[in-house]
Symmetry: C2
Subunit: 330 residues, 2 copies
């Protein structure tokens, strides 16, 4: 039976899993990333997690077709190198060569949001859509583009950096060194900042009271819970936030016009409350108001998306390579 | 010999041409659009221009494989209908069915900027690039996306509306009904507006003097000529304009990471002066400053792009249909 290994390399956790050809996880294993360690130690633990998952799944090395890895950074698949991985302090790490010492199979690497978006298009909400765009709303904003059923990494591997599109010219300084980046207005971090500012201005609001007038105790969930409960201050913040988000979604639509735009990441746990708010804003930004436009939906795979997407990335690239080779044989 | 007909339907002019398989124009013919007429009259003149071009090229009806049409609006290829064409006052016009009364060949329709961008990727500056993005800088800003060597129209036919991405939230009202659209900051219209405002503020500037203190006499060429001549006021306008343009180009890069971004349309006649200015701004907006990024170049096909791109669009879609049909036969 053909098996694939997906490894989700996060800032705090390594999760590895074995999947079948349709991306169903048969077994998984985890370990701590302990960011800051020399990279060979991290890669050794990635391999150990993968091997444990294989053992648990009763999967032999012969059955493994390929390995995919989702990283919180930028990789170059040609050389198998991680170019940047800020959270881990990685720069020009030869991840493929290092991992191949433990498991000698074809290894493919891509950005974690690209991988998660691909997972949704193989086994989640955007299943069957030839073209989809995935946005993770977390500490930052990540993007995953699928075109013709394949993950789109761009020509130089730096596509779908949706979080760093300029949303406000000369706006709020970003951790990336630029200013006014989309993730300064659409991430969980942005929602928290807006909530804190509003709570300071309106000490009588429910959100300020529930935080005990301590802005540092405000998180995304509190803003959303207070908005759901009808607190006018939290609702105003939520409306402002979802307007930014809808503007961002609309820019994605005007540029690429995918079949579906998928919202994932921590903020998407707000569920229908978030989705309906974004959907309500969209028509005011549409250019051709009488024409059909992409569906906007919530991600459904949650934490599983990293493993599934990495495994299916490996399957997709490996099969494309084989199709190319068989074309050459003709 | 296989021949293709490309028709460039503009607000003032219809241009039709016969091309070979590589997009070389063998003959062409033009007529006036006379926008505002009932559409059957316009389509009749499109057919007449195409037939005259065929006659001049010595091309028989049997040799014509397919017809492509670039329109200044939005079309739906499935039904061959023009959904919107504001300049011509067209709404839901059955262009394919109407034209087929005169020339019964496969007919494909797409947006003029998409078609012009595709022309550059077949026979112009982006030749050989699998993925490119074309931006026309004219009265408005149009976009043409090529992915895997094919024009990308989006899932609902509304992709690459780059001119109507929101660039400034709650910014300058746009002709489309929204506000802050990219084309309000990056089009020739925007450059003229900035030049007029600056000339009023600085009556001693070269640009104000050359316009005889009459802002309505300022056009894009005057702004650029005065900037080239070193007029500080015009230079400041030009720097502001090219900064907006570079921000727009950088957003295209961060989203899709194509191999090349091509600048066309009237403003691109400023040549190297424009290109160098945009290229100078880009590094300050890049996220991964040490990584390779797309080339930025000027379009080279000029007015020919409409005919060439429409003809090659027809070739591309027809061949894709044939490949699909032959796949089904297996």
């Amino acid at each position: 039976m053909r098996r694939y290994i997906g490894i989700d390399l996060g800032g705090t956790k390594i999760a590895a899993g074995v999947t079948d050809e349709r991306g169903r996880i048969l077994a998984k294993a985890e370990s701590a990333t302990l960011a800051g360690r020399p990279y060979p130690e991290v890669v050794r633990d990635m391999a150990a997690s993968a091997l444990r998952a294989m053992e648990e799944a009763g999967c032999t090395a012969e059955e493994v077709e390929a390995i995919g890895i989702g990283i919180p950074g930028i990789a170059e698949n040609k050389t198998g190198t991680v170019i940047f991985c800020t959270n881990l302090g990685w720069h020009d790490v030869p991840l493929r060569a290092e991992l191949a010492q433990y498991i000698n199979k074809p290894i493919y690497i891509d950005n974690d949001a690209t991988v998660a978006g691909f997972a949704e298009s193989v086994a989640g909400i955007s299943q069957g859509a030839g073209c989809s765009v995935f946005m993770t709303l977390g500490t930052g904003v990540g993007g995953g583009i699928v075109i013709d059923g394949k993950p789109w990494a761009g020509v130089h591997g730096v596509a779908s950096e949706i979080g760093h599109l300029t949303m406000v010219i000369d706006g709020i300084p970003c951790t990336c060194g630029k200013s006014g980046c989309l993730e300064r207005y659409c991430s969980a971090t942005a929602l928290i900042r807006m909530g804190q500012e509003a709570a300071v201005k309106h000490p009588d609001s429910q959100i300020a009271r529930e935080a005990g007038q301590d802005p540092s105790r405000i998180n995304g969930k509190l803003v959303i819970d207070c908005a759901k409960a009808g607190d006018p201050t939290a609702l105003e913040v939520f409306n402002e936030y979802t307007r930014y988000l809808a503007l961002a979604v609309n820019n994605v639509i005007s540029f690429l016009d995918p079949e579906i735009v998928v919202l994932g990441g921590g903020i998407s746990n707000a569920g229908g409350f978030l989705l309906e708010a974004v959907r309500r804003w969209i028509p005011s930004f549409l250019m051709f108001k009488t024409m059909p436009y992409p569906r906007i939906e919530l991600a459904v795979l949650g934490n599983q998306a990293g493993i599934i997407g990495a495994a299916m990335l490996a399957k997709s690239i490996k099969e494309e390579g084989e199709a190319y080779a068989s074309d050459q044989d003709r």
